[in-house]
Symmetry: C2
Subunit: 336 residues, 2 copies
């Protein structure tokens, strides 16, 4: 090592410890949160991870209990102009519509075909369920996975003009990696069909299929020409938003998480339930304040409205990631 | 090392490679299957693991897709005189009965209180559901976990005369460890309430709570004196036996397993579905043939009857672990 290089390393190391005074050998990889600005939010994250990973410390949590839950839309990626699963749904309804000529004049299919987001929003949960039943069923899990993979390979977010697989918010991707490096098991919670996210969540977020919590299309076991298969039925076990989230998380994980990340009112109960657990916890709300960008939204957003939860977060002293103040980059560079 | 010791090691090593000609650097820890006798069954296990872990080979399976599912009762532990969850249920009904004097004369409570297994068997699924609803609900998940932990710390299998936590079949415990060492993710499938197995499955089987697939008691989110909690309701999402198993596995894992282990007719569809997957798979049936021991049972057993599945296994060329022929030890030594 040259003296100049050694000198630079010393300076880097000094800068590092000035920036992260709370960093300790207990927490690994803290220097990977590059897209987070120094400040109380980043410090809260670092201190939490340090606390729960410091063996012998008062807040130590064994690795198996380090469960972190993340909402998807709005928290790990922007949900503008619409959540990714809705984009898939609209495209899929269009593909299937040649076999259903009456859809053109029948709601909610008509709104889906014309990509009328206001129409879909007013069709509500019942409308989305009707569309999903038509679009996600009638095939095997393998067939559905191939359909999703075919779509996601080409589909682009029209507002961000990049593939959906490159719309993950970079600071959150860094956070996922940081938590994993510190022994956390990450679950992603979606309101829609978990089977839509599973084929690509591992590639984009590093989260395997069994750690995606969401609604599930019921399947039926059939033997077709001597070969046993599952067939996806137009019928759901719905993950209800709001109070349904803690129940769904408990059902899948068997534990109360120690860290929860959300961005909308529908996440509130999940955050409150996590905050009420024993010991240290981290509850963080992503706030889309990036006014200079197209994805500033909160109290009146069509999708992912953040209103009540923001007030609760302030009252409860939860951590809020203000995108303008706390982040310095939003996305990875994209090659396309 | 003395010459005699060194000589013995050489002989051991030679015997090892003669016994396991299929062992390769791809499969790790093959020498840990101590309780399995040499023979076609053990070789089938070793060859399967070698095939799916040999990078560049025709049957290679990436680590994330190495999903193995195990039934619990009968497969990982004997279900004599009754499955462990039924033992818990009977004891719990007894504990609660002081508050329910009418149970003494009311089925299925009466059979549970008198530990009348024939009576419980004839009460069927509906009866077991009624008992479980009474015994597993009305408290928080944390409260239920404490109840289970309190019980399992003391309860013993009356026939085997050892704690339930030491009733795991040793060859199967070795197999779990062997598969894990080779990058498999293990799921345990139970028909009953997953929340009963979760508190102790990690200690006994090395399987974390999120990898227990079973029925789930529905929970309700409530705020009690300002504190958000879940409350377990007397209401289920039932895992149906037989054809319901593949659906439940798919719902939780999002994938078709490449290895499945069962011991009863209720496991048949799970095994058939696994066997019908693409590429290499291992489908193994544990057959309780140990006539010199108290747990020989198959075609007419009260719990875990193995009849039809045994015939299908023979016709389909699945692997059968005949406990008398294929295993040489059954349990760990117990200190108590």
């Amino acid at each position: 090592m040259t003296i100049r290089k050694a000198g630079r390393r010393v300076i880097q190391a000094a800068a590092f410890f000035m920036t992260f005074p709370l960093f300790s050998p207990g927490a690994r990889g803290a220097d990977t949160l590059h897209s987070w600005n120094s400040g109380p939010t980043k410090l809260a994250v670092l201190q939490f991870v340090r606390d729960v990973t410091t063996e012998g410390g008062p807040f130590y949590v064994p690795q198996d209990d380090r469960i972190a839950v993340f909402s998807h839309d709005g928290t790990l990626c922007p949900e503008i102009p619409a959540p990714v699963e809705l984009a898939f749904l609209m495209d899929r309804i269009k593909t299937l519509s040649s076999r259903h000529p009456n859809w053109k004049s029948k709601e909610p299919f008509r709104s889906a075909l014309s990509k009328n987001l206001n129409g879909l929003a007013s069709a509500g949960t019942r409308g989305i369920l009707e569309l999903t039943a038509a679009a996600h069923s009638g095939m095997t899990p393998e067939g559905f996975e191939a359909t999703v993979n075919g779509w996601i390979a080409k589909a682009r977010n029209p507002r961000l003009n990049r593939p959906y697989t490159e719309c993950g918010l970079l600071p959150m991707l860094e956070l996922l990696e940081f938590l994993r490096a510190n022994g956390f098991r990450i679950y992603i919670v979606v309101r829609g069909d978990a089977a839509f996210l599973r084929p690509w969540a591992e590639r984009v977020y590093g989260v395997p299929p069994g750690q995606i919590i969401g609604s599930s299309v019921r399947t039926k076991y059939e033997v077709r020409k001597g070969v046993p298969v599952l067939v996806r039925r137009p019928d759901f076990d719905m993950l209800e938003d709001g109070p349904g989230r803690p129940s769904a998380i408990y059902r899948v994980t068997g534990r109360r998480p120690i860290a929860a990340f959300g961005s909308a009112d529908g996440d509130l109960e999940m955050l409150r339930w996590t905050a009420a657990g024993e010991g240290r916890h981290l509850v963080l709300l992503v706030h889309h304040t990036n006014g200079g960008n197209e994805f500033a939204y909160d109290r009146k957003a069509m999708f992912g409205r953040l209103d009540n939860a923001l007030d609760v977060a302030r009252k409860s002293g939860w951590t809020t990631a203000d995108m303008t103040k706390d982040w310095n980059r939003f996305f990875t560079k994209t090659g396309r």
